[in-house]
Amino acid sequence: MRLRRFLVLRMIQLVPVLLVVVVLNFVLIHLAPGDVALAMAGENPDPVYMAAIRERFGLDKPLHVQLLTYIARIAQGDLGDSFRSRRPVTETLLERVPATLLLVATALAFSSLLGTIVGTWIARRAGGGLDVWVSGLAVASYSVPVFWLGLMLILFLAIRVPVFPPSGMMSVTGVAPGLARWLDILHHLVLPALALSTVWFGQYVRIARSSVLQVLSEDFVTTARAIGYPERQVLFGHVLPNAMLPVVTVLGLQLGLVLAGAVLTETVFAWPGLGQLVYESILARDTPLIVGSYVVMGVCVVAASLLVDLVYAALDPRVEL
């Protein structure tokens, strides 16, 4: 009963969040110079053609009228049609979501698991030489710009030593469907997933390390050790569940950004995902596609934070829903 009330409350919270997302993005796009009519007319624009485009899309109306019309449409579950391709926004977004999910989920799983393991591992050797080195590397990997790392990976692992394809999601020639196609996609996935997870990996190492370190100094750990519990049980049964809360927070934040967090990586690796689509739409001032993307991303953020709250409650008995 309590859980249901909690879920209903969160669903209600979704409404103002999405409203802010829509209004903010709608206004920001309209503040940017240029509009879709200019993008469509090219460099030799015909004023009558541009006026017809603006009239067709209602861009000739005052901003608040455009905004209210759009909100009314969204309220009915319709994200509208793209200005440029004239295809439904929902259909366009859904086409791109699987590619982004594959990339980001792989990177997220890889970086969070490995980062947490490494962070826990060095926390037990805090202050030692290994800790200094691994912590330093973690900070470096966290600080490196993902597009630069991507280009370096391409340079070394696709050109100098050509073991992985430099870009794309699958070979455009001669791959049969079935297992061969999946292996081909995995082969293309390695470099972008490696770039993205390297950057995120450092974050998890740092968080897991400091969190585990803090819990290790708690009295209950000393007590558990004094009682004579095996070290493995102390670590997995008592330390890790308590140390996981900050890790889950970061994971939740990144899970929320799962659809938005890979724009640069997708652009560098020509990965046909949502990030690339949003980037192109912004350059073309394709308002329905931009705002539609942000609405979907907003829903993702809210859903992820809901999930984090649920996991918190499961991990920490002190947290009540």
Binding site: G34, L38, A158, P230, L283
Partner: protein, 540 residues
């Protein structure tokens, strides 16, 4: 107990790491096989393009990504490619030949009788009329080139007559250059009664071009296959794949990794590597394609102090083309001092010449204009922005330094393409890099320098120049046009609304043995637009 734990964890880490390495090896080996195995069977050409198409009917909107596939799927009445720099301003695609009446007002096109759409239906004059009439009626982008059309007649299925309101010697060549982007001839039987932007046939286009549509993996690639019944003969490659690669560094990496045989000039390979490494590489040809475009600085004549002719002249003296060529282009480009272009020598007035670099003269002129150096060493502030392409960017970067040396406090402002273009259209800039297109017919000057014309961002207005351009356009006699365009160039160098710096030099990379790309001479006059690949042949 604690002593045992690290070794257990270590074992697990080693196991997990081992498994990961195994998976990676499997994936690598599977991929290596596909990389190592050369494409057998059909000859496939993979070409990178920087942006996805909006639709596959580019007639109703500007569509940078769409020009590539659609120029190969569709055909055009007339076409033009880089053969223009060797003297071919236009040639027939659907049109087998054409004639003009004595006044240059009525053009009669004879169509090829063997032209068919991909669904087998013949291409007739009715399709041409339907396409052009719709463009004119809906004011789609090609209308800018058809604005003077009075009527289009189709006396028989193989004849199109286009009557203009007045004589226009530039009509067919300008239609040729526009075909690179717009004016794809659409099948009337599939489009009639439908709105072009939403027509279902856009998703599986049926054209009359050298390649048939196969698949569009949105955001990823287009696949086309050779049209064996094409009116100019079957293409020499079997499959044409366009891969969407937004980042130029990655496209370059793909080419260097041997995954595609051609890096089009839009990607501009790094100048330093071209100059120091690639030109010596025996596995590739570095193709330098001359251009009908120059790269220039546009000066906003509405703004102080650029509205002062002395200041504009001083800026011309401050800009050092030779130094800029070394710094920006590693000496690979060709400086230009004229208001025309070497690639189109017929109309070039070599006597109309921009001043050479001379810092002292620049400083003297600025002093004369009353703009003396202040306590901070600078005379006035100015913003330099750039045409958002690689060459435009590097030119602006160097120009800022050269202007600062003569005491002009120049600042480099960069914008995204839409913002930049909007600012230029609104006259909201000081100096910007841009281009002037001088062909295929010299009437192209009008678009850049005629009062109120589309690319006259400088706010330049010279009634004498407008009259001269109109007079030249109305005449079809080259002997009469020549002195008129020479006069136009004199006026431009005198008034200096723009400063021509370089003839654009397009740099493409082609793997040895591949021929017929539109950027190569072997592709001139038969590529059917700059984006056409019908004539490309793999190594024997």
């Amino acid at each position: 107990m604690t002593g045992r734990y690290p070794s257990q964890v270590g074992d697990r880490v080693r196991t997990v790491a081992g498994l990961l390495v195994l998976v990676l090896l499997l994936v690598t080996m599977s991929g290596s096989r596909s990389l190592a195995a050369p494409a057998t069977g059909p000859a496939t050409l993979v070409v990178p393009i920087s942006v996805d198409a909006r639709t596959l009917n580019p007639n109703w909107q500007a569509d940078t990504g769409g020009y590539h596939p659609s120029s190969n799927i569709h055909c055009h009445l007339v076409a033009m490619d880089w053969g223009v720099v060797k003297g071919t301003p236009v040639y027939g695609d659907l049109a087998d030949s054409w004639t003009a009446d004595a006044a240059g007002r009525v053009y009669t096109f004879r169509l090829r009788r063997n032209a068919r759409f991909h669904d087998g239906r013949p291409v007739t004059s009715a399709d041409v009329k339907y396409t052009y009439d719709t463009i004119i009626e809906k004011r789609y982008p090609l209308r800018a080139y058809l604005a003077d059309v009075k009527e289009i007649r189709t006396p028989d299925p193989a004849t199109v007559v286009i009557e203009l309101n007045g004589p226009d010697a530039a009509f067919v060549p300008m239609l040729g250059i526009a075909s690179n982007w717009f004016g794809k001839i659409l099948p009337k039987h599939l489009y009639e009664g439908k709105e072009w932007p939403t027509a279902d046939v856009n998703a599986r286009p049926v054209g009359c071009g050298a390649f048939k549509f196969v698949e569009w993996a949105r955001g990823s690639s287009f696949t086309l296959e050779a049209n064996p019944d094409h009116h100019m003969g079957r293409p020499k490659i079997d499959r044409l794949v366009f891969r969407i690669i937004p980042d130029p560094n990655v496209a370059y990496a793909e080419f260097m990794a041997g995954r595609m045989p051609y890096l089009p000039f839009d990607y501009t390979p790094p100048y330093a590597e071209v100059a120091t490494k690639l030109m010596k590489d025996p596995s590739m040809d570095v193709v330098f394609t001359p251009s009908i475009y120059s790269r220039d600085f546009y000066l906003n004549l509405r703004r102080e102090p650029l509205n002062n002719p002395k200041v504009r002249r001083a800026i011309a003296h401050a800009l050092d083309r030779r130094a800029m060529n070394q710094l920006a282009f590693y000496g690979l480009w060709k400086p230009s001092w004229n208001a025309g272009i070497d690639a189109l020598p017929a109309f070039l007035n070599k006597n109309a010449r921009y001043p050479d670099a001379n810092r002292k003269l620049a400083e003297d002129l600025l002093d004369e204009a009353g703009l003396r150096r202040g306590p901070d060493g600078f005379r006035f502030k100015i913003s330099v922005t750039n045409y958002p392409v690689t060459d435009g960017r590097v030119m602006a970067e160097v120009a800022v330094q050269q202007l600062r040396r003569v005491g002009i406090d120049a600042r480099w402002d960069q914008y995204d393409p839409q913002t930049w273009f909007t600012r230029l259209r609104e006259g909201n800039f000081d100096i910007s890099t841009y281009f002037v297109r001088y062909g295929p017919d010299p009437d192209a000057y009008r678009e850049h320098f005629g009062t109120g014309q589309a690319r006259n961002f400088m706010g330049y207005s010279n009634p004498e120049l407008d009259r001269t351009l109109d007079e030249a356009r109305r005449s079809s006699d080259p002997a009469k046009r020549l002195p008129l365009y020479a006069k136009v160039q004199e006026m431009l160098v005198r008034d200096m609304p723009y400063i021509n710096m370089f003839t654009e030099r397009k740099i493409s990379l082609v793997r040895k043995g591949w021929t017929g790309f539109s950027a190569q001479e072997s592709g001139y006059n038969k590529s059917m637009t700059w984006f056409g690949y019908a004539n490309v042949a793999p190594p024997r």
